[in-house]
Symmetry: C2
């Protein structure tokens, strides 16, 4: 929560720099140890969790806005970002900023405006990311999708919509490629599919089908270390992968 002076300063800058009434919220997905994760923030001096979000500069393409916002708020840069929905309920942020309501007259107060928010989902390699909060955030951390805290605003809806989109686009977007590490085992990839689809898959049929797409390259050396049979390592054959995505992977899961 901001002091009156901070609020005034912030609102002034915001009005000068950003398009009014428009925001962007990002759902950043990562995958680690068989679990889907989302990057969430908490705000200083305030309880509750938020998706990383921000505003659109007056002369900035929105794709770049989304990228910039993520970079500013989480230090992530040049990652896979995909617009998925606009949330335009006039009430969606109405009560939320009540705390600032009386500090400034409505016409000066950026936060009592109505905001449409454009939802983007992002896919990152969990291991590449070292979440670190920006000046406004107290914390920035990965949360397990199965164990989410309560989210502020309509961010739970945005998150759910992102997840539904992910599920629907699994055959048309490079989701595996962007969420997995460079090299991975077949069981790890299967776990990702199972998590996104929320459904158990048969190990052998999954492997047959995946290999059938012709988008995987098998590395010579298996991964050692576990107390079991060493699994082969795979990586995506980017050329074939992209060609296959244009058609979509046929068949359902």
């Amino acid at each position: 929560m901001l002091t009156k002076e901070e609020l005034e300063e912030y609102c002034k800058t915001a009005r000068e720099s950003y398009l009014p009434h428009i925001s962007i919220d990002c759902v950043v997905f990562g995958f680690h140890e068989g679990l889907l994760k989302v990057l969430l923030l908490t705000v200083k001096n305030e309880g509750g969790w938020y998706l990383p979000g921000g505003f659109v500069l007056k002369d900035e393409p929105i794709e770049l806005s989304a990228n910039r916002i993520l970079k500013e708020r989480t230090r992530l840069d040049e990652i896979f970002l995909q617009q998925f929905h606009v949330f335009g309920d006039p009430q969606r942020s109405k009560q939320h900023f009540d705390m600032y309501k009386d500090m400034l007259p409505p016409k000066d107060n950026w936060f009592t405006n109505r905001f449409l928010t454009i939802g983007y989902y992002a896919l990152v390699d969990f291991c590449d990311v070292n979440p670190s909060p920006d000046q406004f955030a107290a914390t920035c951390s990965w949360c397990d999708l199965n164990d989410l805290p309560e989210l502020k605003l309509d961010h739970a809806l945005i998150l759910k919509t992102a997840l539904d989109t992910l599920r629907l686009q699994l055959n048309y977007q490079p989701i595996g490629y962007n969420l997995m590490q460079k090299e991975f085992t077949m069981p790890e990839l299967q776990k990702l599919y199972e998590t996104i689809l929320d459904k158990k898959l048969d190990r052998r049929n999954f492997q047959r089908r995946m290999l059938g797409f012709g988008i995987l390259k098998r590395s010579e050396k298996p991964r050692k270390g576990g107390a079991h049979k060493a699994p082969y390592l795979y990586s995506f054959d980017l050329e074939n992968y992209e060609a296959a995505l244009k058609e979509g992977f046929k068949g359902g899961w």
Copy 2:
């Protein structure tokens, strides 16, 4: 094109009523005689074709905006509308309204603002629609998708994106239901699928598969009149249809 007085009046009303920097454009699809059609407008005293579009009232949910805009501009009401993409290039409308640029100072001039536009696609029963232009439009008419005029602004991109979305969502949205008349023949439905997918399908396999979904009811009486064997009439079994859509029709085309 507006006179200076009309422009002043319009800008004043717009600033009072609408959210700035945000617009909505609608791609209205219809299907008639085996061809996909799109509803396009021309503007009075100006060449060129546009998608029907408009603005969001300050306190209006965007879904209602889209509905209202279509109603105002084309008299269509309560039709299937689906948000599909936001177009946010800062240049997308920059040059377009140059004709109004010098009539009013930039801060008063609604049209020299940057606009993000939210794309909606709409599906209507062609026969229900009697296109009629509103006060701003000179004409409002169906255009064949294979024979489109040149579109203003980035409306060609918006239209193409809508069409791509339609193709991807064919198995998840009630596209057939909303584009076909209440009763239709199997070859007519097949033609719709062929048109959207831009691909020939086998008559017999199409029929078997469609019937296999269990979403069609066959009417007792066939359609008479043509100089050929009378085809059966079908209609959608709405209950099964909606249940099936939740899962998605499995398999590709």
